[in-house]
Every structure is written in structure tokens, then in C-alpha cells.
């Protein structure tokens, strides 16, 4: 439905309401530079989460659900940090290497399991996430085991160090915008439409000549590479990586952001990250209540707003036009 509605709008021109939304978003994006360290910290996390969830959204748009997304973030983080430490690579090549490593693992894993029913994909990605965490814990000689790796230096690009919160926020924002734009561009192209088509009905998509396995594999590899790049960024921001920052509950957190934000919209990951990243601050000291709220919100959104918060404007528009007619 979404794709049809989008395609129907000539040239993808933005209406007055959408314009107002974009202006508001731009104002929100600029806000952290004029506020305290705490808001800046949250803003950085929102941007990084938005990139990671965008990667997951790419996988989900092909009708697959990855429960091991955090594992690919971990591969990106660890590979880039280790490459910088042992081979002396600078930030950008190290990040690329991390993304490449993650893409390679995703390629191998995806080649084997994407030919099967979606359920297998979920189960295997879940098991893979657990396995990687165990491997990171066990390979203490290389990964530092449970202690993780501390004292990771700030990211440097062409001699410019992103060593303060203000500077790093700029980098994170750029990454988030870039991933948003890439997704936006992808879903206006035939490949993006093909992805939507095979999510709706794989058998029909296959019979119209689309190579379902190859497209799903491509989306999985690209989504995992994106997640890994964000992982490399995150490790430079926090300055520390440990296996526990990439466990299954982190993967589930990504799914919650995606579902609540909206699976069928390019904006979904950003909306989900914006809504859910600051939320733990509201529930400080009541983690259990927070998780119960997450679970309940997940079920309620699935039931009553399956396309997430990002579909609210469209719904409102539909209501509006129905009332007008």
C-alpha cells in the first residue's frame, strides 16, 4: 500500500505538511548543539541507533526478521577496533574493514539459511548472536574476554579528531542522514520495489522473474554492513567494547525500535530510535517497568498500528480525506 501511495505522488514532491515536518526535524537535529552534554549524548545514541535499525529495516523489508543484529554490530565494532590497534589502520579504513567483515559473515550465513522458511532465519540468527557473544568471551587473548577492550581512541578523519561530544554528534548525524538517504534512494529504485514485492508474496515475486534468494541475500549483507559501520562508530564514541553490549536483548531492542517506528517506511528506524532511545531515562531506577512497557507497547503496536508510528501521518491523512468526502 505504502509503495503505491508513494509512487502515485508525482516526482515525490513534498506537501506543505511534509515540509513542516522536515523543518521541525531539522530544528530538532540542530537542537543538541545548543543544549547540555546529556541531550548531546542522547542525540548521538539516537543517530547511531537509527543507522543500526536502518540496517535491520533493510533486512525486514524483504520479509525476514534478524534476531542477531547486535552480533553484526559487534563484528563491526571489534574488527575495526582490532584492526586499528594491531595493524595501525586509521578510522575510515578500519570502519570499512569492519563493515566488510560483517558483510562476509552475513553472506556465508545468509547463503545457507535464506533459502529456507523465514522461521529458520530467525532461529539461526538468534543462535548466531549467542554464539558470537560466547566466542568473544572465550577469545580473551584477542578480544579481552568479559573485560572487553577499553581506551579506544577518538575517531579521526583526515586529521580532524571527533573527540568532543559536539564534534562526534556531527559525525553521527551525518551517518544517520546518509543511511536514511540511501534507504530512501533504494526504495525509489526497481530493486527497492522488488524487495517490497517479495516481502508481500515471495512465490509471486519469484514467478515474475525476481531472484528472491539473491535479493534477500543482498539486503541481508547490506543491512549487516550498515550495522557494522554504526558499530565501528559507536566503539569510537563510547571508547569501550565488551561482549555484553551486544547480547540478544540489544538485538531485541533493535526489533522493538523498528516495529514501533515502522517497518514499511524509510522514516521508521529514525522515528523508532528517537522515541525509544531516550525512554530509559524516564524509567530510571525502574528497569523492569520499562521492559514491561516495551513488551506491552510492542504487542499493542503490532495489533493496532502494524506499520508503526511512522504510518501515523498517512493514517491521519486517510481519516481527514474520508471526513472531507
Amino acid at each position: 500500500m505504502t509503495t503505491l501511495a508513494l509512487a502515485a505522488r508525482p516526482g515525490g514532491r513534498v506537501g506543505p505538511l511534509g515540509m513542516a515536518g522536515l523543518v521541525l526535524l531539522a530544528a530538532l537535529a540542530a537542537l543538541p548543539w545548543f543544549s547540555g552534554a546529556f541531550v548531546q549524548h542522547l542525540a548521538v545514541l539516537v543517530c547511531l541507533n537509527a543507522v543500526m535499525v536502518s540496517g535491520l529495516a533493510l533486512v525486514a523489508r524483504c520479509g525476514q526478521l534478524s534476531l542477531g543484529h547486535a552480533a553484526f554490530v559487534a563484528i563491526g565494532a571489534y574488527a575495526s577496533v582490532l584492526a586499528a590497534r594491531h595493524w595501525g589502520l586509521s578510522f575510515l579504513p578500519a570502519m570499512l574493514l569492519g563493515a566488510l567483515a560483517s558483510a562476509l559473515v552475513a553472506l556465508l550465513l545468509g547463503w545457507a539459511i535464506l533459502r529456507l522458511r523465514g522461521v529458520y532465519f530467525v532461529l539461526v540468527t538468534f543462535a548466531f548472536g549467542e554464539l558470537l557473544r560466547l566466542a568473544l568471551l572465550d577469545g580473551a587473548a584477542l578480544t579481552g574476554g568479559a573485560n572487553g577492550i577499553a581506551g579506544i581512541g577518538a575517531a579521526q578523519v583526515f586529521g580532524f579528531a571527533f573527540d568532543t561530544r559536539e564534534r562526534f554528534y556531527g559525525l553521527a548525524l551525518a551517518a544517520a542522514l546518509l543511511s536514511l538517504w540511501m534507504l530512501h534512494a533504494l526504495f525509489r529504485r526497481p530493486l527497492g520495489h522488488a524487495m517490497d514485492a517479495l516481502a508481500d508474496n515471495p512465490a509471486l515475486a519469484e514467478s515474475t522473474g525476481l531472484n528472491v534468494h539473491r535479493i534477500q541475500l543482498l539486503a541481508f549483507v547490506a543491512g549487516c554492513a550498515l550495522a557494522a559501520a554504526a558499530g565501528a562508530l559507536q566503539s569510537r564514541y563510547i571508547g569501550y567494547v565488551s561482549p555484553e553490549s551486544f547480547n540478544t536483548s540489544v538485538s531485541i531492542g533493535f526489533i522493538i525500535m523498528l516495529v514501533i517506528g515502522g517497518r514499511r517506511s524509510v522514516w521508521g528506524p529514525l522515528v523508532g530510535a528517537m522515541v525509544l532511545t531516550p525512554l530509559p531515562e524516564l524509567f530510571r531506577g525502574a528497569v523492569q517497568t520499562q521492559h514491561i512497557f516495551y513488551g506491552a507497547a510492542l504487542i499493542v503496536i503490532l495489533r493496532f498500528l502494524p506499520d508503526g508510528l511512522a504510518s501515523l501521518p498517512r493514517r491521519a491523512r486517510q481519516l481527514w480525506s474520508r471526513d472531507a468526502a
Binding site: 520479509g63 526478521l65 550465513l109 545457507a112 539459511i113 533459502r115 529456507l116 522458511r117 523465514g118 522461521v119 529458520y120 530467525v122 532461529l123 539461526v124 538468534f126 543462535a127 548466531f128 549467542e130 554464539l131 560466547l134 566466542a135 568471551l137 572465550d138 540478544t248 531485541i252 526489533i255 516495529v259 528497569v287 523492569q288 517497568t289 521492559h291 514491561i292 516495551y294 513488551g295 506491552a296 507497547a297 510492542l298 504487542i299 503490532l302 495489533r303 502494524p306
Partner: protein, 289 residues
């Protein structure tokens, strides 16, 4: 050290652990068979079952067997109620149903955390001492658990094979539409199937409670084992799950003898991947890929 002794001991241990994995996986695969739903809350029912047994035995001073029976009945009713109340809109919707059970799992686990606290509790063992089985030595408490587990599986087998609702349930697993044509009210079997799955998970939890500690986090590991068993055995295939569970128990037991740390887990993951590439229908070839 005598190698034959070690090998026998490892075999016995592996079979015991495999039996408990089977109990866990059978409910999971049953729920998948009936509802086409991957139930991520399965581990939480295990956890609730463990707490149920703990409170009934330590708190209410009931005999262990009665505690297991009550836990099963409670989980059956609770699971059926949850299916009917929460999961009903997601029937026949694999992806959203799965995500909904993730939400359910979060709610259950954190409710348990709020009410029972995060500290592990330990339960008095069912029996003292050890029993000799030929060369191998087994703690008698474990033997009790094995006997209970076998009894539960035998009851389940009898129920599915001979009773009317059990046969109807199997028909629904096989083909929902044909079952409906034969006059089976499949509507009724969604809550029943889910409740039965929850009940089996709870029994597994209750049986494990005296062997290990009880805490709100105990559900995660058995859930992962159930996933592995179900993939190896083939989704929805109960005989496949039986073979796979025993194999997994044995492989883990031998591996802990010969390999260190997470090497065993890697090996099992490699087996799972090899299985999915070479024979995705599962060991007995009756599951679905």
C-alpha cells in the same frame, strides 16, 4: 583415569540432559506445528514452571510430584488464556505472531523480576545420595527427574496418540483446513496447543528446579537448546525432536569431556549450519524447510 568409565558416565549424563532438552523442545515444536508460531515466550514458561515448583515445594510443603502436576495445570490454563487473550489476532501471521511472543516474553520475565527478585533461589533436592548404574554413578535426584520426564513424555505420547483431543490436535498440526473439513473445531485447538506447549515448558522447568537454581533468567539457555533441537529435528516434527534432543545431549556431554569452553558451542552451531545446508527438513525428514 579409565576411559570406558568416563565414556559411560558421559553417555549417561548426555542422555539425561537430552531428555530434559526433549521436554523443552517438544512443547516448542508442538506450538509451531499447531499455530505456525515461533514461541519466544517458551523459555519464560520454563522459568515460571521452575518458580511454581519452588514455591509449592518450599513454601506450601507439597510433595514434588503434586507440585509438578499443579504447575503443569496452571501453565496449561495460563498459556491457553494468554493465547486467547493476547495472541489471537496474530493467528496465521508468522512474523507478527513471533514478534508478539517476544513482547510477551519480556513482560513475563520482568514481572517475575519484580515479584521474585533477581537473586537465584535454590530448592531442596528431591532425593539424597547417588545410584550406581553399572559403571556410571548418577545422583539419585537426577534419576528421579529422569523418571518423571519419561512419565510426562509417555503421557504426552498417549494423549496425542489415543485420546480424541490429542488426535484432533495432531490432525490440526498436519493440515488445518482438512482437519476443519473433518469437523474439528480448529479454533479450539489454538489455545489448547499453546497451553499444552506452555505446560510442557513449565514441567521441564519444574523438573529442573531441584537440580539447578531458580531465577527469572533461567529461561534463556533452555530456549536456545530448544531452538537447536527443533532445527536439527525439523520444525514441527516430534519424533525428529526426540532424536535430535538425545543427540544434542550426547554431543554436549562428550564435547565437555574433550573440548574446552565455547568450542563445544561452536561445534554444535557448525552441525546446525551443516544440517540446514545439507538436509533442511531435519534428521528424520518429516519437518518442513
Amino acid at each position: 583415569m579409565d576411559w570406558t568409565f568416563l565414556a559411560t558416565q558421559a553417555t549417561v549424563n548426555g542422555l539425561i540432559v537430552g531428555l530434559l532438552y526433549l521436554l523443552m523442545a517438544v512443547g516448542f515444536t508442538l506450538v509451531f506445528g499447531v499455530m505456525r508460531m515461533v514461541n519466544f515466550a517458551h523459555g519464560e514458561f520454563y522459568m515460571l514452571g521452575a518458580f511454581g515448583a519452588y514455591f509449592l515445594v518450599s513454601g506450601a510443603q507439597l510433595p514434588f510430584m503434586a507440585a509438578v502436576a499443579i504447575t503443569f495445570a496452571g501453565a496449561l490454563a495460563g498459556g491457553a488464556l494468554l493465547e486467547w487473550g493476547v495472541l489471537k489476532p496474530f493467528r496465521r501471521d508468522e512474523l507478527n505472531g513471533m514478534i508478539a511472543t517476544i513482547g510477551l516474553a519480556m513482560i513475563l520475565q520482568n514481572l517475575a523480576l519484580m515479584f521474585f527478585g533477581p537473586d537465584p533461589l535454590s530448592m531442596p533436592p528431591v532425593a539424597e545420595g547417588v545410584t550406581r548404574l553399572g559403571k556410571a554413578v548418577v545422583p539419585t535426584a537426577r534419576l528421579y527427574v529422569v523418571v518423571f520426564a519419561c512419565a510426562v513424555l509417555a503421557l504426552l505420547y498417549g494423549f496425542l496418540r489415543f485420546s480424541r483431543p490429542g488426535r484432533a490436535l495432531r490432525a490440526v498440526v498436519e493440515d488445518m483446513e482438512i482437519a476443519a473439513i473433518q469437523g474439528i473445531r480448529s479454533r479450539l485447538y489454538y489455545p489448547l496447543g499453546f497451553g499444552l506447549g506452555a505446560g510442557l515448558a513449565a514441567v521441564a522447568g519444574a523438573l529442573m528446579a531441584p537440580l539447578f537454581s531458580v531465577s527469572p533468567f533461567v529461561g534463556g539457555a533452555p530456549l536456545l537448546k530448544a531452538f537447536i533441537v527443533v532445527i536439527l529435528g525439523g520444525l514441527g516434527s516430534i519424533p525428529g525432536a526426540a532424536v535430535a534432543a538425545m543427540l544434542l545431549g550426547l554431543v554436549e556431554s562428550y564435547a565437555s569431556l574433550l573440548l574446552a569452553g565455547s568450542t563445544a558451542d561452536m561445534l554444535i552451531f557448525a552441525i546446525v549450519m551443516a544440517m540446514l545446508v545439507l538436509r533442511p527438513k531435519g534428521l528424520l525428514g518429516r519437518g518442513e524447510a
